[in-house]
């Protein structure tokens, strides 16, 4: 891979520009290490908590909440990208985008199943999503306004998601860890296709370049907010971080993951030729990390609490699909019941 990373100067063929390696956290030793540890863990089975194991009730409810909100994020996250399926600029892009949105549906199902191992069911969790009692990642409350947003979501949002999810491959709860191993692999493809969309735009016409830059401007800060509030300082939340770390659900602090993401992404922006919208972004030799400017936590809390551009719309769309499909699901149940009755031996009179 190395050596011919970026194609020839002036090349616009997307195939010729192989993106840098590693491009996302699932392509780093962190992921391979997590995989290795996971499979080692399978051998020494007692390292993972399995559904039948005794567990503290608080551990159980924390996991259900986290897995459900993760599943909801996958499902709601389909909407901003599905917004571009009918308008994708080429048939190849249309096919890739459709496959990506479809993957997210699969991730949602996979995570709902993982949650169901703890004795809840999907319809119960969906009800909580629909009624606002459970949240999804606030990033999806922002709109996809141009085609470049499909690229920015893949590059930044999937990229940030993988950074969060690779450590979850080592999560102490077996079904969640296993779900993450599979999900991270696919998220890695998603992040690559997003990078590639922007790569081509950034080498295209002036209008395409502007489109790519504008998308990065709008998605950069919300992507950094995806790691959650800071661990210390005035904006720190009295969240569940410490407890989750003690339980082996969470492995790194929000700020550590955010820093890793920034460090991995800034050089990618430079390769793309995109300027990240942060005048304070600077390499800090002493720390060996990129410094970045203050995050607008007021905006974060405002959007999380419902006052974002798409909060209403995302839930309305989800609820509408669910309600419009009610008669279909009822029919499927009725049919299954009839079939079961037909195949039962005649009842004794």
């Amino acid at each position: 891979m190395y050596g011919n990373d970026f194609g020839q100067p002036g090349t616009t063929d997307p195939g010729a520009g192989a993106p840098p390696h590693p491009l996302n956290a699932a392509e780093t030793p962190d992921y391979t290490d997590a995989l290795a540890e996971y499979f080692d863990g399978l051998i020494e089975e007692d390292q993972r908590v399995e559904p039948r194991d005794a567990m503290p009730e608080a551990y159980r409810t924390t996991l259900i909440r986290q897995m459900a909100q993760h599943a909801h994020s996958e499902i709601i996250g389909m909407q901003p990208e599905a917004n571009w399926i009918t308008r994708a600029p080429s048939l190849r892009r249309k096919a890739i985008l459709m496959a990506k949105v479809q993957d997210e549906a699969g991730h949602g199902l996979y995570l709902y199943s993982a949650a169901e191992t703890l004795g809840v069911d999907r319809s119960e969790l969906l009800d909580k999503l629909h009624s606002g009692r459970q949240k999804y990642s606030s990033i999806f409350n922002y709109p996809t306004l141009t085609w470049a947003d499909a690229g920015a979501i893949g590059w930044l949002v999937d990229g940030a998601a993988i950074m969060n999810q690779v450590p979850l491959c080592r999560c102490s709860y077996g079904p969640y860890a296993r779900a993450m191993v599979r999900v991270c692999k696919e998220e890695s493809f998603h992040q690559r296709q997003g990078f590639e969309i922007l790569w081509v735009l950034a080498r295209g016409t002036e209008e395409q370049k502007a489109m790519a830059q504008d998308a990065a401007n709008r998605w950069w800060w919300p992507a950094l907010q995806m790691f959650g509030p800071p661990d210390t300082g005035e904006h720190a939340s009295s969240g569940h971080t410490a407890q989750s770390m003690a339980w082996g659900i969470k492995r790194f602090s929000n700020d550590d993951l955010r820093q890793k993401f920034v460090d991995m992404t800034v050089p990618q922006a430079q390769k793309l030729g995109i300027t990240l919208p942060d005048p304070d972004l600077a390499w800090n030799e002493e720390r060996g990390h990129w410094d970045f400017g203050p995050i607008d936590w007021d905006e974060f809390w405002r959007v999380l609490k419902g006052d974002g551009p798409c909060n209403e719309q995302r839930i309305r769309t989800r609820v509408q699909a669910h309600e419009e499909g009610a008669w279909v699901r009822e029919a499927a149940e009725a049919y299954a019941a009839k079939q079961a009755a037909r195949h039962q031996p005649e009842a004794v009179a």
Partner: protein
């Protein structure tokens, strides 16, 4: 003074395609492309998440077929310069599209989609099975892959028509109403047209009229099992798609599908 009848047309017929080999492939490719475009609208709107995935799968298969068929059509059309899949999908005008009107109709409720999918996939299965022996080797290759895909589509639609037909009273009524609504678009699948006659004569393709009876018989079998009835012959039926005459909804579909590509002439994506 009376106006004289004009004897010369102002311009060429916008729906005319001179080469029947090209025309025939466009018909196949456009059916797949336009149906994929409609099915793509289902993602995030399906009755359950499994169905978002399943309809996405069907759409992806159809996009794959469309890309192979349109690419081949462009090659058959010939040089100066060869039009690729995107030139054909994104830069043709409505009157140059060759799909049947069935596939361009707006997304109805889930029963409408299953009615359309059952008929269309049953037709495509018969079609691709016949094309396995096409003298056009590329087309035969596309058919060999596609026939397995559409077999799955047909099975999926069949399962749902059974569930909806023999599910609840409401689902039965909705499914029956959907069949009545979709039925007028079915006859066009079986109508012979110039390009198909040329293709059948040259061993490249097959006459649609030779497929349609078996298609309808197969659908009728599913309907019977689903406690549904084949609708009576409709008062009207759609015609003209293979000559580029579409229904009013087609312009909006193309406006949505093509606008981004057309807004940036010559750009790469």
């Amino acid at each position: 003074m009376t106006e004289q009848h004009t004897t010369e047309t102002v311009g060429a017929d916008p729906g005319r395609v001179a080469d029947p080999a090209f025309d025939y492939l466009l018909g196949l490719g456009d059916d797949a492309l336009i149906y994929a475009q409609r099915l793509g609208e289902w993602l995030t709107h399906a009755p359950q998440i499994e169905e978002d995935m399943a309809l996405g799968n069907v759409a992806l298969d159809l996009i794959g077929q469309a890309r192979a068929l349109l690419t081949h059509a462009g090659e058959v059309e010939g040089p100066d310069p060869v039009r690729d899949e995107d030139d054909l999908a994104m830069l043709r005008h409505e009157r140059e599209f060759r799909n049947v009107q069935l596939v361009e109709q707006p997304r109805g409720d889930f029963a409408h989609e299953m009615a359309r999918l059952l008929w269309f996939s049953t037709y495509q299965r018969a079609l691709y099975s016949a094309l396995l022996t096409s003298t056009d080797e590329t087309l035969a290759g596309v058919a060999a892959k596609a026939v397995k895909e559409v077999d799955y589509h047909r099975d999926h639609a069949t399962q749902w028509v059974l569930r909806l037909g023999d599910g609840t009273e409401e689902s039965h009524d909705r499914m029956q109403a959907a069949l009545v609504a979709v039925h007028p678009y079915v006859a066009e699948l079986g109508e012979d047209h110039g390009a198909a006659r040329w293709a059948a004569e040259h061993g490249v393709g097959v006459l649609p009229s030779s497929l349609i009876d078996a298609v309808n018989a197969s659908v009728a079998g599913v309907l019977e099992q689903a406690t549904l009835s084949m609708p009576d012959a409709p008062r009207w039926h759609a015609r003209g798609g293979r000559a580029g005459v579409h229904s009013e909804v087609m312009g909006y579909l193309l406006a949505e599908m093509q606008h981004l590509h057309r807004s940036h002439p010559g750009a790469r994506w």
